[in-house]
Amino acid sequence: MLKPLEVNPLKLSQPMGALLAFLGIKNCMPLMHGAQGCASFAKVFFTRHFNDPIAIQTTAVNDITAVIDGGDYSISEAVKNITSKVTPELIGLFTTGLTETKGDDIRGVASMLQPQHAMVYVHTPDFEGGLESGYAKSIEAIIEQLVEPQEQIEQKITLIPHVSMTPLEVERVKEQIELFGWSVFALPDISESLDGHLGQKQGALSSNGISVSQIKDLGSSHAVITIGNSVYNRGEKLCTKNQKMKHLHFDTIGGLKASDIFYSKLMSLSHLSQPHASIMRWRKRLQDALLDTHFILGGCKVVLACEPDQMLSLSSILTEAGVEIKAVISPVKSDVLVNIPSSHIIIGDLDDVEEFLDDHTLLITNFHGERLAKKYHNALLTRGFPNYETLGNQLKDDTLYQGSTQLLFEVANCMQANHHI
């Protein structure tokens, strides 16, 4: 019998992806159009993951407005109540399974409210897609509804990171591109909003990120760089705002080969024959790390269960040191899955993961993997959402030469530690 349900789900919903996208915009109020619990669950989830306050409000649809309101009442009431207390530069309105089942016309409501309030709206029912698609749809809506068409280009680059990139990863990639002489704007930019910094006070809105005026101006970017298959089309979308804009896409920037491609494209875009000295140093360190760790990692068996773009990235780092990807369990379908060299690629849940676990396997997944690690005595590396158990999730980096180097050491140490038990 084919399993008709999910047992120990891996899948995270589209509205949660939308929330992450809006949290990377400065002074934004993400507004989830659904019952109060939808927003509450998402808020608690990311608060615990990032160990930081999360800005979000809800339209608090109840059993009466669920039936007689087309969204007009609850959304405009919510906007009124929010703006009576704070002044957001943007309200990011996104839907849930409940309000999509009702079939609310959020476009109509948004256009009614937009004269007074800056607003972006997006359809993100949780009975479709997942974290990656909800995030990508929101970026699409932001580009479509905010970015102004332009004809001139400036010395700047737009970076569109995939949803599983941590605040530190976004920051590091921005800095790497800056080393080639560009100003860089990330859309969205969680590197300053969810990075776990001590601010002056705790605000009700997202603390930092890309500003609305910077978003409006992204059309003058010389190029857009997309990282992760899930956001590829968003780069294409931004290019429609300016014919002169170039699009550089990378499914992954993990591992030596992928990083080489990343830097070589940046060099040719910037007309430079050589990158910054620090980049060259980190490449040598990565070469050394690959050799240092290959004794442990060669033939090691790894099971991956995260979001697709993150799994591709992790696998492209680890396979370079001879790791064998025993199985890939993805919460959703994705084109990148076939690029991961594994004989078991499954759309499933953490229940499906168990089939591949034993005490010689390393499992890379979110904190729910801890229970499995206790049961099967397998090594565990926590990556992806949510991670309630270990601190500092926002400052993990598994990208480019430096992040790949550190990941190799972390995985090798993790395997060693598990074998000494």
């Binding site: 999910e6 120990n8 619990g37 509450s40 399974g97 409940l98 029912p125 479709e128 229970r371």
Partner: protein
């Protein structure tokens, strides 16, 4: 639609709730754009998930469970597979929204029975599955007849209201479908049910061994370390004990009407409240021998606790604190703090019920209505040493360079009963001794000092 409007109205206007004697409106509806806190589904989940021997099947698309499973530390001594920490979801998709999710639900129930062999299944209705009108009750009763285990549908979709209401609806489902469906082998003369005790961080285990030593038998719990078989016999207990949470008062009132079981409400935070709770439980049985035994054990426990608390008292004696938290914690934690020698200058009542405010008044001289405005001023005026609050107030503590204890964070260690008080003393001492709040507050070399 299977959401029962009449039942919801009755629960919101519960006559046993203090506030309903005073104001005409019932528990408030959530306000768009100005609401925090979970929904009814979450409340149901909190109330019932601690039944570790039952499978909790959430009939919903991915948000409801995907973001909420394995989140609460409610340990269980159940030796089989602990379902509290597992997530079962029908994963409703666009296809189901259009064609209905009945088939999927039925298949899921059959799959669970075949592969997991649970003692019961709770099926949780959620917003989307309420909207598409899946006939859950029908499926549940057919499956129940076919497989012979209780299959309880919990009609608490998120949009009907708050967490509190959801817990009440869960209580109703348990009352209608489980309580009284089995007779116990023996009826204990001093049998009690613990209602609204979820054994968070093992709180319940701090005091149940003491009760048992006295001669009290815990017949069933709703639902900390709970078992389906026990809750089925709950109607044969002699007393219902509501622990802290007020949400299940309706259930207790109905059990009194239906089975003649009286109920009392107690708190197990702090030394005085724990001793008082034990006395109230024992007192309800009006048995001299039992009362004598209880006093003997209380005296022994208190004495042992006092000697364990000595080293902490030396550090905490005379320290002043402000407490900013919600609900019954506004007085229960205050009482516990006083028990370890701390002077509680003020407590916040911004998120407390009328009943809680009345109790808080008896413990603490100053009640804070608006913490954001009053907190900082009170710290200065009273030379306060410790702020116990949620993360939002951390900045105030750092600015004032005083110790901070996050009382709203998901705690990992129990503060319940005598043993828990020692844990609380340990944590507050650690905060008072920790230099971190002053270190973090040091201005950067490039900042002009405001002092």
């Amino acid at each position: 639609m299977m959401v029962n409007k009449k039942q919801i109205k009755e629960l919101l206007n519960e006559s046993a709730c203090t506030h309903n004697e005073q104001k005409k409106s019932s528990c408030d509806k959530p306000k768009p754009g100005a609401t925090s806190g979970g929904c009814a589904f979450e409340g149901a989940q909190i109330a019932l998930f601690p039944f570790a021997d039952a499978v909790h099947l959430v009939h919903a698309p991915s948000t409801c469970l995907g973001a909420s499973w394995e989140t609460r530390a409610t340990p269980s001594s159940y030796e089989g597979e602990n379902n509290t920490y597992l997530g079962y979801c029908t994963n409703v998709t666009a296809h189901d929204v259009i064609f209905g999710g009945n088939k999927k639900l039925e298949d899921s129930i059959e799959y669970i029975i075949e592969h997991k062999n649970p003692k019961a299944i709770f099926v949780y209705e959620t917003c989307v599955t309420a909207m598409i009108g899946d006939d859950m009750d029908n499926i549940a009763s057919r499956m129940e007849a076919k497989y012979g285990i209780p299959i309880v549908v919990v009609h608490a979709p998120g949009f009907v209201g708050s967490k509190n209401l959801g817990s009440r609806l869960a209580g109703e489902a348990v009352l209608d479908k489980l309580i009284g469906t089995k007779e116990p082998a023996q009826i204990h003369p001093f049998g009690i049910n613990l209602i609204g005790e979820y054994n968070v961080t093992g709180d319940m285990w701090q005091y149940t061994p003491i009760l048992e030593k006295i001669g009290i038998k815990v017949v069933s719990t709703l639902a900390g370390d709970g078992r389906i078989e026990n809750i089925q016999t709950a109607h044969r207990a002699k007393l219902n004990v509501i622990v802290c949470a007020k949400s299940l008062v309706t259930l207790c009132r109905k059990m009194e009407e239906r089975f003649g079981i009286p109920y009392i409400s107690v708190s197990f935070y702090g030394k005085r409240d724990t001793s008082n709770a034990i006395r109230s439980i024992v007192g309800a049985f009006k048995n001299e021998e039992l009362s004598r035994k209880a006093e003997e054990i209380i005296a022994k426990e208190e004495e042992a606790l006092e000697s364990r608390l000595l080293p902490y008292r030396e550090i905490l004696q005379g320290k002043k604190a402000i407490l900013n938290t919600g609900g019954n914690k506004s007085w229960s934690i205050a009482s516990a703090l006083q028990d370890i020698g701390i002077e509680v200058v003020a407590t916040s009542i911004a998120k407390a019920t009328l009943e809680d405010i009345e109790i808080a008044r008896q413990y603490v001289p100053i009640l804070i209505k608006s913490p954001a405005n009053e907190q900082a001023k009170l710290i200065d005026e009273h030379n306060v040493d410790i702020l116990l609050a949620g993360g939002r107030s951390l900045y105030t503590a750092i600015k004032k360079k005083i110790a901070f204890v996050d009382v709203n964070q998901e705690k990992k260690i129990s503060y319940g009963a005598y043993g828990g008080l020692e844990n609380l003393a340990k944590d507050v001492c650690a905060a008072v001794k920790n230099p971190v709040f002053r270190v973090v507050g040091t201005p950067a070399p490039w900042e002009v000092s405001n002092a």
